[in-house]
Assembly symmetry: C2
Homo-oligomer: 248 residues x 2
């Protein structure tokens, strides 16, 4: 990092900060982050979601909400949607205009989202992470203490390779890894019940979890309704695959 790094300090008024991550893109981090937030909210926790995928913010689409955040007393107020308090660069930019910024700018924005947004009164703040192990991940880990990280992957070797990189990164940054969520685990043909392991067998994730000294917390099937729910801003709250998470 640069000189004069502000010290890491907890976010005022927030119970626990949970990062939903993976080294790999497109494995379902945002989908799982929103589902986890809704599952915790149904258990009557007060939950916020912060999208720090600066280049590809998808939270506004996933929750079907638009709007400009208001500012009060020099603090940015999160947007309210589905009983959650949320923030994303997607609320500050035109929908498909590319953010062509370099690392230091990304770092500055993430610090502002963590420090200057009024997150007070939350039991959980869920952080939807971008792919990779670079500026955004460092900005988070060096700005606030993260209580736990969930790593999302599909069973494919290509995805597991990046998930392992992401998991090892959390270890290096002293963030506790709560476990792995296997997404797109199997496709079941509705009419026949026939199963297809398009992205590989879920056992591969269990093997890799063992090698990385962690556990698989839950499994989500590859399901058209999950994709449709995200596209239409009506996320399908899954039969709580992360239930072990709420005990975290």
């Amino acid at each position: 990092g640069g000189g004069g790094m502000p010290p890491s300090a907890p976010i005022e008024g927030v119970g626990r900060v949970i990062a939903v991550a993976s080294g790999k893109g497109g494995v379902g981090k945002s989908t799982v982050a929103v589902n986890l937030a809704l599952a915790l909210q149904k258990l009557d926790y007060r939950v916020g979601v912060l999208d720090i995928d600066i280049y590809g913010p998808s939270l506004p689409t996933l929750l079907g909400v638009a709007g400009r955040p208001a500012v009060s007393n020099r603090r940015i107020l999160p947007i309210e949607a589905s009983g959650l308090r949320i923030m994303s660069l997607g609320f500050l930019m035109e929908e498909d205009s590319p953010v062509i910024w370099r690392g230091p700018i990304v770092t500055g924005i993430i610090r502002q989202f963590l420090r200057d947004v009024d997150w007070s009164g939350l039991d959980y703040l869920i952080i939807d992470m971008p792919p990779g192990t670079g500026d955004a991940q460092l900005a988070l880990a060096q700005t606030v203490p993260v209580d736990g990280a969930l790593v999302v992957t599909t069973p494919s070797d290509l995805a597991l390779l990046d998930a392992a990189r992401g998991l090892q990164m959390f270890k290096t940054l002293n963030v506790e890894v709560m476990g792995i969520v296997t997404n797109m685990a199997r496709f079941v043909v509705p009419s026949s019940g026939e199963e297809f392991f398009i992205f590989g067998k879920p056992e591969e994730v269990a093997k890799e979890a063992k090698r990385l000294e962690t556990t698989v917390l839950g499994e989500i099937p590859l399901d058209t309704e999950v994709r449709r729910g995200g596209d239409e801003g009506q996320p399908v709250v899954l039969a709580d695959p992360e239930s072990p998470v709420s005990q975290a």
Copy 2:
């Protein structure tokens, strides 16, 4: 960019540079890049592939090859695999050790891969891009003239949103967009021929392509064999969905 940016200059001895990109992760950029390279090689072109996904290099896995690149006359020699000349950070790092570097280091590595690797004698150099629209994309576009960009997407709104961001970025950086490749377009149940549009309908991509004033070049089905081929380092060369590309 920083001060003292070296001017953009063509890569010595390379015919055309084609970027395979998307704003979105996990849509099949690496899979399509390798398939495109193999399809061009089968047409007797001399082809190289450069993986500039610094945080998640997958080229070594996709082509099932390992090894340390040699250096000769102060130039790095690409690795030879399946008749292609290839380079990736994956050849210089332990397989799952995370690269926790900030933007400026990523930029430096990409410049070295473009300037210091001996790519001479190639008709095509295919660049496998990372997700996002940040340091890596800027490093490429500001270092060498890129002859064309292929944007890969699935039909899902979430993916199309990021694909549009990536496509608009290329326009901003004056890189010609050759078209869009629709990946994971449909899943066909082998025994019954029944079709499932798990990631959405391909027509959605055609609509978006029209809005973005470009065209859909081809479609690849969601197919277990494509994933298996990538995981096992034996890429399935598809029935050349990109054939329009070779006319590019």
